[in-house]
Amino acid sequence: MAEMQTTKDPGHSILEVNSLVKYFDVVERGIFQKKKVGDVHAIDNVSFRISGGETLGLVGESGCGKTTTGKVILYLEKPTSGSILFEGMDVVETFENGHQSDRKVLRRRMQMVFQNPYNSLDPRMTVYDIVSEAFAIHRNIPKSQWTDRVYELLRMVNLEEYHAERYPHEFSGGQRQRIAIARALAVDPKFVILDEPVSSLDVSIRAQILNLLIDLQRDEHLSYLYISHDLSSVRQISQRVAVMYLGEIVELARADQIFDKPLHPYTQALISAVPVPDVDHKATRIILPGEVPSPINPPQACRFHPRCPYATDICRQIAPRFEDKLIDGHFVACHHADKFV
């Protein structure tokens, strides 16, 4: 797949991901040695940009590579190849060969809120410890100010000061997620990766957290990468959306373009499949045959062709280019995209 064509968007990109690849080894263990028998193509040639103050939604089903993308951007997993530029800094270089001080800067400017609020907080630490750990690691605030700053952060996420003394298990899922957000904000990041932050929460709580995230973005001028399989919440919070399938981005456009006029057959099926809370909406579901294939041996050429209702010979032989030859700013990887414009 070709790299992303340069877009017309000038807005200072805060994050630039180019041709990112991540393969995991499939290994057979013998008694004395391990043998590599294959690759899991978790991410294959992914490129996108995020501007300051913007939210890019990253959607896809299980195995598409969206969570891995988030982890690789933060260098929690080493990329196999490709580049990640954050505010101009080469992330991979910095983590592999750079100074510790530069690495610490990256760790402060780029943060993550994890999916499972029941696992993402250390059960043996108080809320105060959890939120202030950032200060302990980066030593950017004198100890005398820690308590004030912790209280300030708790207030920002609509929690109370007295919550600081408590342990995670004393809180509900929604509250724990707020603590996780406070922790991410403790380092004053510019960019936060949100990995399914509301998926394990109750419906009535989701709106609280989503609205909180939107408010914080506005107040603190943050950029988000919002990773989720819940398309409804993605629409709520994202300005642009990228759709992933089997490790590749198949479509990337503005949220309204993606949701109202999707060009890629997979995106079309995906969006039509989401139940709409509206009785007057007639669901014309596009049902895809078969299962989501495994990323260990992805199909040749266009990875979606085995399940695509419009697949033709060219789809089975040549991988489609990812480009926006049809509509400005709307990128698709499909040989037949012009049919849907």
Partner: protein, 347 residues
């Protein structure tokens, strides 16, 4: 001292008696409590539900609402330390709560079945797919092994599984989530039950697989003229799959109505709030937040159980539990203020 009235079966009887469809399931004033070390969890506290033959009914609520416990109570599979302490469950006119375990066992499968949320745990990991199905068929339908295997094969075909002969010999862990759930559905339907509970059947599945499974359930329900109770927290699924819906919150019924009535003109603040808090793929709107948290079921709030989070709450809401009142034919709500409030629906 709260003074609560419960929905009497008379209301429902008068409601529906003149209509032709017969009542298949009639739950009145059901109370299922869990007796834990921390206290008594009132999972269901005076819940009533009516399902007619052939209907697709929705039971919507969040965690702690009691929706799963309802299905468990009807099938009498409430796990310890839970127990049904009060109320009545009539199925085909017979009172289930006075039946013995043996009698209930004869009903589970041939008369009523349930599809659970997580197929990984609801399928036996050490049995092949074939065994999962044939065991039940041989038990309830008295078939020979060969006949049962044949039936199992046709069941798999029926639920849309490709290469069913291969899948029969497979073990659950070799299959994908979507396939496992189809097998769970096949198992539930194997004895052609009259009543099917689907407890969050697609929550753990990917979006496109969810669509497959929901379409399958829709199709099967029509084909077999089966009565289905769809238990979910997803208002989208409710809108798409059900004709009538009951809204549960903290073990109590908040509102009961035809699905389109519920969406267009809800009468309960919780329903209105839910509709406003749920995002949609079809449009970007400002989500309205429901403040607060799901209440503690050991010490639920006094009076109306929703009052701490209700933006319309008045004094009476704190003191008295609202009875389930009739708004119009087929539409019931448990709220003191429903006559005064002008609530917004969707669409």
């Amino acid at each position: 001292m709260t003074d609560y009235q419960t929905l009497s079966t008379h209301d429902f009887v008068n409601e529906w008696a003149h209509r032709l469809p017969e009542k298949l399931l009639e739950i009145s004033n059901l109370r299922t409590y869990f007796f834990t070390e921390a206290g008594v969890v009132k999972a269901l506290d005076g819940m009533s539900l009516e399902v007619n033959k052939g209907q697709a009914v929705g039971l919507v609520g969040e965690s702690g609402s009691g929706k799963s416990v309802t299905a468990q109570s009807v099938l009498r599979i409430v796990p310890r330390p839970g127990r049904i302490v009060d109320g009545s469950i009539r199925f085909e006119g017979e009172e289930l709560l006075s039946k013995s375990d043996d009698e209930m066992r004869k009903l589970r499968g041939p008369k009523m079945a349930i599809v659970f949320q997580d197929p990984t745990t609801s399928l036996n990991p050490v049995l092949t797919v074939e065994r999962q199905l044939t065991d039940i068929l041989m038990l309830h339908r008295d078939l020979t092994k060969e006949a049962a295997s044949k039936k199992a094969l046709s069941l798999l075909e029926h639920v849309g599984i490709q290469e069913p002969e291969k899948r029969l010999k497979a073990y659950p862990h070799e299959l994908s989530g979507g396939m496992k759930q189809r097998i769970a559905i096949a198992r539930a339907l194997s004895c052609e039950p009259m009543l099917l509970f689907a407890d969050e059947p697609t929550t753990n599945l990917d979006v496109t697989i969810q669509a497959q499974v929901l379409e399958l359930l829709k199709q099967l329900q029509k084909e077999l003229n089966m009565t289905m109770v769809m238990i979910t927290h997803d208002m989208g699924i409710i809108a798409d799959m059900t004709e009538r819906v009951t809204v549960l919150y903290a073990g109590k019924v908040m509102e009961v109505a035809d699905t389109s009535t519920l969406f267009h003109s809800p009468k309960h603040p919780y329903t209105e709030a839910l509709l406003k808090a749920v995002p949609s793929v079809k449009q970007t709107r400002t989500l309205e937040v429901i403040p607060g948290n799901i209440p503690n079921l050991i010490e639920p709030p006094s009076g109306c159980v929703f009052h701490p989070r209700c933006k319309y709450a008045k004094d009476i809401c704190m003191r008295q539990e609202p009875p389930l009142e009739k708004v119009e034919e087929g539409h019931f709500v448990a709220c003191h203020l429903w006559r005064e409030l002008k609530l917004e629906g969707r669409g």
